[in-house]
C-alpha cells in the first residue's frame, strides 16, 4: 500500500489528526500554525486526488479493509474531488487570510478551541464529500455542523449567540430529517452503502416508503443547504460570525449539502422511482426561482454589507438548484461549475469585506462612504467579485451562467422562461452591486466618521487578490473546472463518458 493509494483516507485523517494537537498545544500562536499546516496539506492531497480522477474513473477505498456493503467505503470521483478541492482551498485561504482578523475578533484564550473547531469543520465537510456510506455522511454532517456552531458562536457581537442557537435548532432538525430518510432507505433495502443502495433500490416494490424517504432526505438537506424557504438561519449566521469564519462557511458549507442532495437524488432515486426527474423539477424549479427573486430583492434593501452578501448567496444557491433540477448533462455541469465558481467569488468578496471591517470597524454600507479612494485595492477586489456575481464575461460567474442558459434552452418553452428569469435576476444583481459601488466611490466620507487613510494590512490583501486572480484565471482557462464538472455530471446521469 504505497502512500499514493492511501490518499483518499489521508485527506480526512490529516485534519482529524491535527485537531487534537492544535487543542493540546496552547503556546501563543501555535494553534494557528498547526491548523494552517493541516489544512494546506489536505488541500494538496485533494488537488492530487482531483488530478487522478479527472479521467473519469472512481477511486474506491475500503475503510478498515472490510469489503463494500459490510464496511464503510470512501468513493471519490470527479465531482467529489472538485468539491473537496473547493472546501480545503476555501478553508486554507480563510485561515491564511484570517491570521490578523481572527486575532482581532477572537480572543487569545479560546484560540486552541477555535482552531481545533476550524480543523474539524473542514474535516467534517471533506468527510461528507468523500464518504460512500449514507450513515457516515450523517456522522460527518454532524461533525461539520457542530464545529460550525462553535465557530459562529465565537463572534464578538452578542447577537452571534442567538443566531447560533437558531442555527443549532434548524441544523439539528435538518440532520434528523436526513437520518429518518436514511432509516427508511435502510428499511427497504437493508444496506447503507450508496453504490449498493443505488443497485438495490430498483427492486423495491412498495414505492410509498421510497417516496417518503426521498422527501425526508431532500427536506433535511434543503435545510442544511439553505434552499429558499428553509434558509432563515443563514443571513444572521453569516453576518454575526467572525469575518474569517464567514469567508470559509460562505464558500464551502452550503455547497456540500447541495453536493449530497445531488448525489442522493441522482445516484439513488433517479433510476428507481419512475418519474423522479419530473418530481425533482416540480420540487426544485419553483424554489430556485423564488430564491432568485427573494434573495436579490432582500439584498437590494439591506444596509449591512455582510447580510447583503448572505442574501445574494441565497439567490446564487437558487441558480444551483435550477441547475440541479434540469436533469441534463449541460444543466448538471452548470450547477457543479457554479458551486465552485460561486464559492470562489463569494470567498473573495467576504475577504474584501473583512479588510474593510478591520479598517472601518463597521460593515454598514452607509459608513463605508469614500472607501474607494481610501482603500483602492480592497474595493477593486470587491468590484471584481461583484461583476462575477452579475456574470459579466471574463468572470467565473459568466461561465456557470453560460452553461445554465445552454441547458435551459434545451427545455423548450419552460427553458425560455428560465432564461428570462436568469437574465432578469442578473439585472437585480447589478442593482445591489451598484448600490455598494456608488456609496464607495461616488460619495464623500461622512464628516463625523473617523478618517481612514491607509490600505488594509498586506498580509490580508495578498490572499484576497490571490483568490480574485484565481477567479479570473478559471474564467479564462476552464479546462480544470468544466472538465471535472462535465465528467462528474456524466457519472451522475450514468451517461457514457
Amino acid at each position: 500500500m504505497t502512500l499514493y493509494d492511501q490518499l483518499p483516507a489521508l485527506v480526512v485523517a490529516v485534519l482529524l489528526f491535527t485537531a487534537p494537537i492544535a487543542y493540546m498545544l496552547r503556546l501563543h500562536g501555535f494553534p494557528w500554525v498547526v491548523a494552517t499546516a493541516g489544512v494546506v496539506t489536505s488541500f494538496a492531497v485533494a488537488c492530487s486526488l482531483a488530478a487522478t480522477v479527472i479521467g473519469g474513473e472512481t477511486i474506491i477505498y475500503e475503510m478498515g479493509g472490510w469489503p463494500a456493503p459490510y464496511g464503510i467505503v470512501l468513493s471519490i470521483d470527479a465531482l467529489s474531488a472538485l468539491i473537496a478541492m473547493l472546501i480545503t482551498g476555501a478553508s486554507s485561504a480563510g485561515l491564511i487570510f484570517g491570521y490578523k482578523s481572527l486575532a482581532d475578533e477572537v480572543g487569545e484564550e479560546i484560540a486552541p478551541a477555535f482552531f481545533a473547531a476550524w480543523l474539524l469543520c473542514t474535516a467534517g465537510l471533506v468527510g461528507m464529500v468523500v464518504s460512500g456510506d449514507a450513515f457516515n455522511i450523517f456522522v460527518f454532517m454532524e461533525i461539520s455542523s457542530l464545529s460550525t456552531y462553535v465557530l459562529i458562536s465565537a463572534g464578538p457581537d452578542r447577537r452571534a449567540l442567538i443566531s447560533t442557537y437558531r442555527y443549532i435548532v434548524m441544523g439539528t432538525v435538518g440532520a434528523t430529517f436526513y437520518l429518518i430518510g436514511v432509516g427508511f432507505l435502510y428499511m427497504v433495502t437493508g444496506t447503507l452503502n450508496t453504490a449498493d443502495l443505488a443497485a438495490r433500490v430498483g427492486q423495491v416494490e412498495d414505492i410509498r416508503l421510497l417516496l417518503v424517504a426521498a422527501g425526508f432526505v431532500s427536506v433535511g438537506l434543503a435545510v442544511k443547504a439553505a434552499i429558499f424557504p428553509l434558509h432563515s438561519w443563514m443571513p444572521n449566521a453569516y453576518t454575526f460570525a467572525p469575518n474569517a469564519v464567514t469567508v470559509f462557511i460562505a464558500a464551502a458549507s452550503t455547497k456540500v449539502s447541495l453536493y449530497v442532495l445531488m448525489r442522493v437524488d441522482y445516484a439513488i432515486f433517479q433510476n428507481s422511482i419512475s418519474n423522479h426527474d419530473v418530481q425533482l423539477t416540480f420540487f426544485l424549479v419553483p424554489l430556485g426561482v423564488l430564491a432568485l427573486f427573494s434573495g436579490s430583492m432582500l439584498a437590494i434593501y439591506e444596509k449591512n454589507l455582510k447580510r447583503l452578501l448572505a442574501y445574494s448567496s441565497v439567490a446564487q444557491i437558487g441558480y444551483i438548484a435550477l441547475g440541479i433540477s434540469m436533469t441534463s448533462v449541460a444543466g448538471l455541469t452548470g450547477a457543479i461549475v457554479h458551486m465552485f465558481n460561486h464559492g470562489l467569488i463569494k470567498g473573495g468578496m467576504f475577504m474584501a469585506v473583512a479588510c474593510l471591517a478591520i479598517r472601518y470597524r463597521t460593515v454598514n454600507v452607509a459608513n463605508l462612504a469614500g472607501a474607494g479612494r481610501a482603500m483602492p485595492w480592497t474595493m477593486a477586489a470587491f468590484v471584481i467579485g461583484g461583476l462575477g456575481l452579475i456574470g459579466v464575461p471574463l468572470t467565473p460567474g459568466f461561465i456557470s451562467k453560460w452553461y445554465l442558459v445552454l441547458a435551459a434552452l434545451g427545455q423548450g418553452w419552460l427553458g425560455a422562461l428560465l432564461v428570462a428569469i436568469i437574465l432578469f435576476s442578473s439585472l437585480l444583481a447589478v442593482i445591489y452591486v451598484w448600490k455598494v459601488i456608488e456609496v464607495a466611490y461616488f460619495r464623500e466620507p461622512r464628516s463625523n466618521a473617523v478618517p481612514v487613510t491607509e490600505e488594509a494590512p498586506l498580509v490580508m490583501l495578498i490572499p484576497t487578490w490571490i483568490v480574485v486572480l484565481a477567479g479570473i484565471w478559471i474564467a479564462l482557462d476552464t479546462s480544470m473546472t468544466v472538465g471535472l464538472a462535465s465528467v462528474g455530471a456524466k457519472i451522475l446521469l450514468g451517461v457514457a463518458l
Binding site: P20, A123, L146, G190
Partner: protein
C-alpha cells in the same frame, strides 16, 4: 409474545410522558419528566433486544442529560413565562409530518417479522463472520469498533467538538458582578456537605462507581458495554463526588487541564491507531495489520480504540460539568 405486551404498555407510557413534557410550564418538571422519558425509552430498548443501546440511553439520556439540564437551569430561568405562540402553524406542520409517516409505514415490515429485508442482506454476514474474523462474543462491539470503526471515529470527534464548544463558550471565567462573595456562597449552597448521610454514602460509593465503569469498559467485548457507556459511568462517579463535595473540591479531584488533556489524548489515540495501521501497510483503521495474527490484531485494535473512546467521553462529560458548575452565581 410476552414482550409485545410489555412494549405496547411502555410505548403508551412514553407518549403520555412526552405530551406531559409538552404541556407543563415549569421547566424543572419538564426536566424531571424527560428523565422518566429516557428511562422508559431505555426499558423499551431492552425489550427490543438492544442491550447495549439500553445501557447507553440510560447512562447518557437519564443520567448525564438530566444533570446537564439541571446545571443549565440553575444558571438560567426556571419558568416558561411565555404563552405558546400562534399554535396553528406548528400544529399544521407537525400533523402533516405525522400524517406522512403514518401513511408511509403501512407498507413497512411489521415489528419482528423475520423475512424483512433488513434481516436478509447485511446483518446475517455480521452475525456469521464475526466469530471467525474478529472472534468477539458481542457482535455490536465488533461492528461498532471494527467493521464500522470509521463511524465511531467520527463519533469520538463529535464528542470532542462538544467539549471544545463548551470550553470556548463557558471557558472564560465570568467577571464577578453580584454581591455574594466567594467563601460565603460556597459554604451555603454549592455542596451537600452539611447533609451528613448523603455525604458519607455518596463519597463511599464513588470508588465503586468508577470501578464499575472500568468493568463496563473492559467487559465491552463479552457483555453489553463499551467505550461510550464506560466513559459516561466514570464521569458520573466523578460528578457524584463534585455534587457532594462542591465544585472547587471536585475540580481538585479531576483538574480542568487534566480532563481536557484526557479528551485530546483519547481522540488522538483513536486516530493514531488508524495511522499506525496505515503505516504497517493496511488500510486506515485496519486492525489486522497491527500484529502478525489478524485476529490478535483485531482484539488489540478494539481494546485500544475502546480505551480511547472511554477516555474521551469521560473527559468530555467531566469538563462540561465543571464548566457549568464553575459558571454559578458568583
Amino acid at each position: 409474545m410476552i414482550t409485545i405486551v410489555f412494549s405496547l404498555f411502555l410505548l403508551t407510557m412514553l407518549v403520555i410522558v412526552a405530551v406531559a413534557i409538552l404541556r407543563t410550564d415549569n421547566l424543572f418538571t419538564a426536566v424531571m419528566l424527560s428523565g422518566i422519558f429516557s428511562l422508559i425509552m431505555a426499558a423499551n430498548f431492552f425489550i427490543l433486544d438492544a442491550a447495549d443501546v439500553a445501557l447507553t440511553e440510560a447512562v447518557i439520556g437519564a443520567g448525564i442529560s438530566t444533570v446537564l439540564f439541571l446545571s443549565a437551569l440553575a444558571l438560567t430561568a426556571e419558568y416558561d413565562r411565555s404563552p405558546p405562540v400562534g399554535t396553528w402553524v406548528p400544529l399544521l406542520t407537525s400533523s402533516a409530518l405525522g400524517g406522512v409517516i403514518i401513511f408511509a409505514t403501512f407498507q413497512a415490515p411489521r415489528l419482528g417479522d423475520p423475512n424483512a429485508i433488513v434481516h436478509k442482506h447485511v446483518a446475517p454476514w455480521y452475525l456469521e463472520r464475526t466469530p471467525e474474523l474478529i472472534d468477539v462474543p458481542n457482535v455490536v462491539t465488533a461492528v461498532l469498533a471494527s467493521f464500522r470503526g470509521y463511524d465511531t471515529l467520527g463519533e469520538v470527534f463529535v464528542v470532542f467538538i462538544a467539549c471544545i464548544g463548551v470550553m470556548s463558550l463557558l471557558g472564560r471565567v465570568r467577571p464577578r458582578r453580584d454581591s455574594i462573595e466567594e467563601g460565603e456562597f460556597e459554604k451555603r449552597s454549592d455542596n451537600l456537605r452539611h447533609h451528613l448521610i448523603p455525604r458519607v454514602v455518596g463519597k463511599m460509593l464513588v470508588p465503586f462507581i468508577v470501578l464499575f465503569g472500568l468493568y463496563v469498559q473492559f467487559h465491552g467485548d463479552f457483555g453489553p458495554g463499551g467505550g461510550f457507556q464506560a466513559g459516561a459511568l466514570i464521569a458520573a462517579g466523578v460528578i457524584l463526588y463534585a455534587l457532594v463535595e462542591g465544585g472547587p473540591r471536585g475540580r481538585e479531584l479531576v483538574p480542568e487541564w487534566f480532563s481536557s488533556m484526557l479528551v485530546a489524548l483519547g481522540a488522538l489515540t483513536y486516530t493514531a491507531v488508524g495511522v499506525v495501521s496505515m503505516m504497517r501497510g493496511g488500510r486506515f483503521l485496519d486492525y489486522s495489520a497491527l500484529s502478525h495474527d489478524p485476529i490478535h490484531g483485531q482484539h488489540m485494535g478494539i481494546l485500544i480504540i475502546e480505551a480511547g473512546v472511554g477516555m474521551t467521553v469521560a473527559g468530555v462529560m467531566i469538563t462540561i460539568f465543571h464548566a457549568f458548575s464553575r459558571r454559578g452565581i458568583r
